[in-house]
Amino acid sequence: MEDREKVKKIAAYGLSILLFTAYIGILFNARNPQVSLEYRMYYIEHTLGAWPGNGGLLYVLGTKEIFSLDPREQGALNRLVEGWSNREESGRWTRGNRASILYIFPEKVEEELVLEMEVVQYMPGVSAEVYANDQWIGRMDEETGKQISIPIQKEYLKTDTLVLSFHIENSVNLTEMGPASDDRDLGIMMGSVLLDRGIP
């Protein structure tokens, strides 16, 4: 009788240790989820404004992405990471001092690219420094015009990921210009963005 109790006790402690170890293992596994980049950014890091779907951030070189209410806008809508206002009839304003766009390529890009942008409007006095993966690649303002083409050196494209950042200078709050209900800090209204292979 005593032996049976002892066996029960040993089995119970053994099972408890087994369960506890399994819980620790599952928690450890939870620290490094095996998920898509889109999942990680949207659900875990909360760095995407909308759920693009698994693989939804993939960008095919040469695709012109439209920022307006055009139904073709969906691609651009997904990859806007930070600093963009709601889309409007003809484009989308940058909001605040920094706006970013994220591109994921199907494979590593090992050649120079060209960034082509159509600007709809600059707020008065606004300019932007453009960065590719934190490397300065150019500047845009009223002087550079509304059709802009900026080369991106292949040295800046070391992985399959490209983050385009616009560092906005002198963004304008409409309330500073007079009575207005819109209190956003606006910079540049972007019409479209295209990335393509550079001329060899």
Binding site: A12, Y13, F20, I26, A30, P33, W51
Partner: protein, 390 residues
């Protein structure tokens, strides 16, 4: 009346039978009233009579999808396409799915029958728990009436986890009270596989074990003795280790299926809301211009007061459970707070304790009348699919 009740449920061979008969009677009568309200609703609104379909919507749709298709690999619901059924725990859809396949009956019909049976079992176990902990037939009967006829009781008869969750929670508390730790662990494992907050009952167990030790004669021997006594009780150790099993089994499944064991947590972003200060959420509710928000804030405040009363009554484990189960939803939003209050059991127990202490038949009558009448309002809103009831 009270003497008759005491006689009916007095310690005797017939006591268990009487409690079961009482539970089934209360459940059947209250559910017949549901059907009557629905019949009036269909006449008023001119809609087709389809009781089980009109009773089961919102989250019920998610559970139905799990029963029919299992857990999906990709999010698919809501406006942003970012909601997913991983947010919903598996035990209820597993049980309903099993009986749906076994009987061939429609999912919502099976779910409503099963949930109602869980409610009957819940009333039986709650009755026994109150008799164990409060020794008050009147309170046991009152709580049973609230669970079957009271406000938000409608959630106990649909494809929602409320009745299964509360049944398992009360089983954990009952077995904990009786020091049947293995049974407690098994009920706890099922509980943590029913809803994400289920695992929190483990804290109530810890507090109860500690409180019992502190009230015992051994308390002078100190912390090391407490650890020794606790860890030498193999049934308690195994029981506690069993409680998170449901949650971790689901996590392991999610990890295997889609690579993220915490997917059930991460997908909450689809329903919006950031985790914040629960008191700030409550304060915002009181300051809101919306009557609904103010009402929800009052419910939240009532929950806090009840939890405080449980502390004063030295029912520490119930108080801890109440606070945890209130703070978790309150940290995000006020929505669904009344449902959580009724569906967490301990608030109903604490509220009943307060009324028993006040010992005013008029007040008890008023509160019960309010809760029963408001249930009809809730039912009406529910059939109208009003967002008040989310």
């Amino acid at each position: 009346m009270s003497a008759k009740m005491n006689l009916l449920f007095a310690e005797s061979q017939k006591r268990n039978r009487n409690i079961i008969v009482f539970a089934f009677f209360a459940v059947v009568v209250s559910r017949l009233l549901f059907v009557a309200v629905y019949a009036v609703f269909t006449v008023q609104s001119g809609s087709e009579f389809s009781f089980f379909n009109d009773l089961n919507f919102w989250d019920a749709g998610w559970y139905k999808h799990i029963i029919q298709n299992g857990y999906s690999l990709e999010p698919f619901g809501d406006e942003g396409g970012d909601a997913a059924n991983w947010a919903f725990f598996p035990l209820l859809p597993m049980i309903v799915g099993f009986f749906h396949k076994l009987t061939g009956l429609e999912i919502y019909l099976v779910a409503s029958i099963l949930s109602t049976l869980f409610l009957a079992a819940l009333i039986v176990i709650t009755f026994h728990y109150i008799m164990e902990t409060r020794e008050s037939v009147g309170e046991a009967v009152g709580v049973s009436i609230v669970l079957s006829f009271g406000s938000y009781s409608l959630y106990f008869s649909m494809l929602y986890t409320e009745s299964l969750y509360l049944l398992l929670l009360m089983l954990v508390l009952y077995f904990l009270q009786k020091e049947k730790y293995l049974a407690m662990g098994i009920a706890g494992a099922l509980l943590s596989g029913t809803r994400n907050t289920g695992v929190m009952v483990v804290f109530a167990v810890g507090v109860k074990v500690l409180a019992d030790y502190c009230m015992s004669a051994r308390v002078q021997k100190g912390v090391l003795d407490f650890i020794k006594v606790t860890f030498c009780n193999w049934k308690l150790v195994l029981g506690v280790c069993l409680i998170p099993l449901g949650l971790f089994a689901f996590m392991a499944y999610l990890g295997w299926k889609m690579g993220d064991p915490l997917a059930f947590l991460h997908v909450q972003v689809a329903w919006g809301g950031e985790i914040g200060n629960p008191l700030a959420v409550l304060w915002r509710g009181f300051r809101s211009s919306s009557w609904r928000e103010i009402y929800l804030a009052v419910c939240g405040m009532t929950g806090i007061l009840i939890a405080g009363y449980l502390v004063l009554q030295k029912r520490f484990h119930e108080a801890v459970l109440a606070m945890i189960l209130l703070i978790i939803p309150l940290s995000v939003r006020l929505q669904s707070i009344p449902r959580y209050l009724i569906g967490s059991g301990v608030f109903v127990l604490g509220g009943a304790d307060i009324l028993r202490k006040l010992n005013s038949k008029i007040l008890i009558g008023l509160v019960l009348t309010y809760l029963i009448v408001f249930e009809f309002v809730c039912l009406w809103y529910w059939f109208e699919q009003s967002t008040w009831m989310i």
